[in-house]
């Protein structure tokens, strides 16, 4: 099962490091990653495989929200199907 993780907020040091460590600790595998910095805003998108995740997706989503609050970013992880459903016919 795959999910999309997004990190949005003001650019800062070590964002990718913190997020990828967090994911590694939960056995979540990063399949693809892209990032852009628009003005001073940072937007990172990751496609992750959560098949081996040690926590269920809904819990992972809650943990991501708290991680985001801790580092001053908005972090979401969502089932990939929501984007497929909304943006492709």
């Amino acid at each position: 099962m795959r999910a999309v993780l997004t990190v949005i907020g003001k650019d800062n040091y070590g964002i990718i490091a913190k997020v990828s460590t967090f994911l590694a600790e939960r056995n979540v595998n990063i399949l693809d990653i892209s990032q852009t910095v628009l003005d001073e805003y940072f937007a990172m998108l990751m496609l992750v495989d959560i098949s081996g995740s040690s926590v269920p997706l809904s819990e992972l989503a809650t943990e991501c929200t708290s991680l985001g609050k801790g580092i001053g970013m908005s972090i979401h992880v969502q089932h990939e199907e929501i984007f497929n459903a909304m943006h492709s016919v």
Binding site: V4, I8, L45, I82, M86
Partner: protein
Amino acid sequence: MFNTNEILETINMVEREHLDIRTVTMGISLLPCIGGTAEKTASNVYDSICRKAEKIVAVTAELSNEYGIPIVNKRVSVTPASLICAPFPEKSRLIGKALDDAAKTVGVDFIGGYSALVHKGMTDYERKFIESIPEVLATTDRLCSSVNVGSSKSGINMDAVRLLGETVRKTAAATKERGGFGCAKLVVFCNAVEDNPFMAGAFHGVGEGGTVINVGVSGPGVVQHAIESIPSADLSELAEMIKRTAFKITRAGQLIAREAAKRLNAEFGIVDLSLAPTPARGDSVAAILEEMGLESVGTHGTTACLAMLNDAVKKGGVMASSRVGGLSGAFIPVSEDIGMIEAAERGSLCIDKLEAMTAVCSVGLDMIAVPGDTPASTISAIIADEAAIGMINNKTTAVRIIPAYGKNVGDEVNFGGLLGRAPVMPVHGESAAKFIARGGLIPAPIHSNKN
């Protein structure tokens, strides 16, 4: 990999534009619950709902987290209760209490279906059932009631219309300490739909399956934002943009509906894409109409803007879901939409204009407060007007009107939460009492004879 813009667009819709799944509603058939006595039936009803809807709150919370879309309300709709109360109508309130208790046990916000369908004729047991509505709504918290008084196929049952005018007034009086809150839970329909997931008018039709999940999606803020992004577009471009936006929103609803049905061991019923406003700023249907180019909702041009909006929303929704149902369109409740509230306070939105608007949108006169001394016959006449619009135009119309006890034009009723606040709006002072007293049936229109 995904398109970055598409992903950010979805997140923006949720974070800034109030995109949400407005309701996941489980429809439950109560017909197997009928027992030998009212007490036995009430206990069966309670058990059946608690068993079937046990997991609805947990499952919707899980889905909301997994897909990153808020699910605002969890609800249950049931078979019109007048049918299961038929053998013991004088004890209908026992069933009402069982429904309310079950809603509290499973943790849903509202339960709909304290309803009767009397569009052609009204039996004695149905009359008694309808007479129980004021007391039942005053003594329960989460129970909603609706009555269908007309249809395009059968005409308008004016005896029922007369009774409902009185019922609305009695409900207001029975709940006067709470601003007539009971009336916010009572809808009078023409052409009621059997799979509507939205309250207060939801009930589970007898033609439906045993346990069904219907989902209502909303997103006035998303549509408003989409229109803002093309300020100089002409109206065909605008319609196209609304259609595309409605498509995306409905797809999100369809996904949640299918998944919720699977996890709750129910059939997937329908997705209802209705732009349902909340009193929050940025979540308003009035604001969409004003964004189209009106200085204030209620002014000349409002009906045309709303007609286009409603139609474009339906077209986008139909394309997006394998099963579109319910009401699907734009809702125009006054108290639940900050733009409507402000327009009513300014005096630019009146009941007559709202009535015209209901001819082209998906519902009717909704959440409107009128002076507390409005006669029952005037309320019946308002219901009859709405029902006539629905009957002739082959569409659903409804009246959810609140006589504000002891209040007059210029005052306001505040319900709080999603129900918002309603400025008391003026009604015509001239009487319709003689017309309402006639009773009988307004015959079905000629174009209903299609067989």
